[in-house]
């Protein structure tokens, strides 16, 4: 049996190739197609939000959406003569989806601003997109990767209401040293956010002569922390620093109590371990009395914070997490910037420099501004989990650190000359003494 009709196939091939080439040549002569740009500078301000409302971080992403919407519900979406129209697209916690949705928001919905996303890898992907599309402005209230405002910062991606992973843990290391801790074990999630949290603590703790005897890393999705906690000998350490995130946090909190380490070994945690989105779901008292360092404390005694907390509770029936405060502050930030430029976003440079120059006297976080590298400068709180009169678990402020920048007390140039915190580099031998 012959190979089916070779003559037809060859003719078919030639015709098809010819067709495609001719068509392409004809098109090339036509020039660029008509493409609608990124909206005009006077009408509605189109904003695209990239919050992950599905996938593993759906709970946090939903809080982001709620915080954002709450600001505009309370303060109105008409600012300086512009109406802010927001469209939400779900990034599902995936960087490729983030890019696709970003393109959709810009090309189909004419977004001029993009707000979000959540995870570090999503944020890096979006930063890459923004770098290539300079006419779009990105606001990053949650993506805390150190390098996004350090070695890999992108001018049109602004940490409006944002933070830096290692910023709250730098003071934690000094605090531990002040308490007289000499030997510490760190336990962090085995990815960039974990390395940056542990790095901040380890860097400052070792500067004061402390010794991190062991660094444990648990992969995301760890349901059973016992294999890590069993490596902690109460007689051989003065304290433990822990960072956990998302669904891992309740697992850690449970294991810490169940294995009898609570009360026996002093613990200091990062923000996300005792985050409201975790605390909401805990019915027992395992987290009560435990301390952490973070840039948000829902129990903070300030009008801005308490107004936000009570309005959020009224609207959504739950206490807000820092994710909600972050996007709420992003709304506040954008509103302030629009007022300063009197609603005129036509000059990208002016609008960007205004955004980068915003100084909030107070917000649900506290006072907030950006340094010249685009890194947030604001308060860091030593917090303790308590159960309030309504029976809710909240983070109360024990101590306030003001004007904390991403470089802590280090010289920025020297700090940036070092690599970003990673599994290999935790600042143990830096600065050299």
């Amino acid at each position: 049996m012959s190979s089916t009709s070779p003559r037809l196939t060859r003719r078919a091939t030639t015709r098809l190739v010819l067709g495609v080439v001719l068509a392409t040549a004809a098109i090339a002569g036509c020039g660029a197609p008509n493409d609608s740009g990124g909206g005009d500078a006077k009408g509605d301000l189109q904003v695209g939000t990239l919050f992950p409302t599905s996938g593993t971080v759906a709970a946090a992403g939903t809080d982001m959406l709620r915080g954002w919407r709450l600001w505009f519900k309370l303060n109105g979406s008409e600012v300086a003569g512009r109406k802010i129209v927001a469209k939400q697209e779900d990034t599902a916690g995936d960087p490729t989806v983030t890019l696709t949705k970003a393109r959709k928001l810009v090309q189909q919905d004419q977004s001029k601003l993009l707000v979000g996303p959540l995870l570090a890898n999503e944020a890096y992907a979006l930063a890459g997109y923004l770098k290539q599309n300079k006419e779009i402005v990105g606001l990053n209230p949650v993506g805390s990767s150190d390098d996004l405002s350090q070695r890999k910062s992108v001018t049109n991606y602004v940490k409006a209401g944002g933070w830096v992973s290692s910023a709250p843990t730098h003071p934690a290391g000094e605090w531990a040293a002040d308490k007289g801790w000499k030997r510490v074990i760190t336990l962090c999630s085995d990815y960039a956010f974990g390395y940056e949290n542990c790095g901040g603590f380890t860097n400052t703790f070792t500067d004061r002569g402390g010794k991190v005897v062991k660094q444990l890393y648990a992969p995301i999705g760890t349901s059973d922390y016992s294999s890590y906690l069993s490596q902690i000998d109460p007689d051989k350490v003065d304290g433990v620093f822990v960072q956990s995130v998302g669904a891992d946090s309740p697992n850690f909190i449970k294991a810490w109590s169940d294995l009898g380490l609570k009360g026996k070994v002093p613990l200091i945690a990062n923000e996300t371990t005792f985050e409201q989105s975790t605390l909401r779901g805990i019915k027992n008292n395992d987290p009560v009395g435990l301390e952490s360092f973070g840039h948000f404390a829902e129990g903070r005694d300030s009008r801005a914070t308490q107004k936000f907390v009570s309005e959020f509770k009224k609207e959504y029936g739950a206490l807000p997490s820092y994710y909600a405060c972050a996007t709420y502050t992003a709304g506040q930030w954008l509103t302030a910037a629009l007022k300063q430029v009197k609603g005129d976003t036509s000059d990208q440079q002016t609008f960007l420099s205004t955004l980068r120059g915003i100084k909030l006297g107070d917000s649900c976080f506290g006072p907030l501004s950006l340094d010249r590298y685009g890194g947030p400068v604001g308060n860091v709180y030593l917090r303790k989990v308590v159960r309030n009169e309504q029976g809710e678990l909240v983070n109360q402020v024990e101590r306030e650190y003001r004007n904390v920048s991403q470089f802590w007390k280090y010289n920025p140039q020297q700090f940036l000359a070092q690599p970003v915190y990673s599994r290999k580099y935790q600042g143990v031998d830096w600065p050299s003494r």
Partner: protein
């Protein structure tokens, strides 16, 4: 026989219209739709590479995204970290991909059915594991940003044309492959592997060649994807991407050439367009898939051939061709419904006759009958 001359002419008219439509797309629709079309082309090529193995060769693969990884990361690393010019990086990445496909293929030549599937799954996930964990090389879960596009294709519509031409050329190459002796022996492997060896065919070598070629085309898709997103990350390499590619080719029609693109188009459209107004879009995708498997086991292209094209041919007076098309599709569904003799084979089978487009059977069958 003027009636039967209508059939091939109608097919060429349809094909010509499709070419013109694809070429003129950026002038007809909004930029976002052009972007979706670019993605559909890239994933269509990816699904087609799976089709070559699964549809024509009967070898289901669940690790094809590994080749997106090798080629995509190859291009990304060579350009952003090693400073290679883009052209050289693409060549290097594809060479690496072919080497990986040959290596993985060697592990597969003696495997059949379920074992074949499991090994491909493992191979794909090995690549994912490297992408996810070898932070210094691949950026870990952050992936690699800043992958350049060709200097002449910086605009979204220019890149669309690049993708269109590349995918068109690859599709034509695959079409030639499928009709070549190697392609026919692939069908032999699918239908009755045990009978080929005594006939003197080196089955292992044919399988290896098919796997390597299929991996190459998946690598081309990977290069196109990395440049399109200017980014490559572990999720592009994950098992779900492989599964999605298989799903696209089944949806469109396993064993067809156009089926891969139809399936890719449907999935991309639901994922991107429908998802913005329907929160349960994944449910919709699942329902579509189940309906296709139940009522159109030859995929959407097969259903089109049977329920639209054949009646149309009959209307045009080409009754013989219409019957041939229907015979082709019913043989296909018989193969699916009846299952196959070899218990170790994977559950999904392919239509017995190649159909690319489905109506090509109409023109070739009379010639086949005459020449054989």
């Amino acid at each position: 026989m003027s009636a039967s001359s209508w059939a091939p002419r109608a097919r060429w008219i349809a094909l010509g219209a499709a070419v013109v439509l694809l070429a003129a797309l950026p002038y007809l629709v909004a930029s976002f739709t052009v972007n979706l079309a670019t993605q559909a082309l890239i994933f269509g090529l990816f699904a087609l590479s799976i089709n070559v193995l699964a549809g024509y060769g009967g070898m289901i693969t669940l690790g094809q995204a590994g080749f997106i990884g090798v080629a995509g990361y190859g291009v990304a690393i060579l350009t952003t970290q090693q400073g290679w010019p883009l052209g050289a990086a693409i060549v290097g990445a594809l060479a690496l991909c072919v080497a990986a496909a040959a290596f993985f293929g060697l592990l597969l030549v003696r495997a059949r059915g379920t074992y074949f599937v499991m090994i491909t799954l493992a191979e794909g996930m090995v690549v994912w594991g490297i992408a996810q964990r070898w932070q210094e090389l691949t950026g870990g879960e952050n992936g690699i940003t800043g992958v350049p596009k060709p200097s002449f294709a910086q605009e979204y519509w220019q890149y669309y044309y690049v993708a269109l031409v590349v995918v068109a050329v690859c599709t034509l190459l695959i079409a030639r492959l499928v009709r070549s002796p190697l392609g026919l022996s692939l069908k032999g492997i699918r239908e009755a592997e045990d009978r080929l060896a005594p006939l003197g065919y080196d089955v292992a070598r044919h399988k290896l060649a098919a796997f390597t070629i299929s991996g190459f085309f998946a690598g081309v898709a990977g290069v196109l994807l990395a440049m399109y997103n200017s980014f490559i990350g572990p999720s592009d390499v994950f098992f779900l991407t492989s599964a999605e590619g298989l799903l696209m080719s089944i949806l469109g029609g396993v064993g067809t050439l156009t089926g891969a693109f139809v399936g890719a188009g449907v999935v991309i459209f639901i994922e991107n367009d429908v998802s913005s107004w329907l929160a349960r879009w994944q449910t919709l995708l699942g329902v579509v898939f189940v309906l296709v498997v139940l009522f159109a086991p030859d995929g959407l292209v097969g259903a089109w051939a049977r329920y639209v094209w054949a009646p149309l041919l009959r209307r045009l007076g080409a009754g013989a061709e219409a019957a041939a098309v229907e015979a082709a599709t019913s043989t296909a569904s018989a193969a699916v419904v009846g299952g196959d003799g070899d218990g170790g084979r994977a559950a999904v089978t392919a239509p017995a006759a190649p159909a690319a487009p489905a109506a090509s059977a109409t023109a070739s069958r009379p010639e086949e009958a005459r020449s054989s």
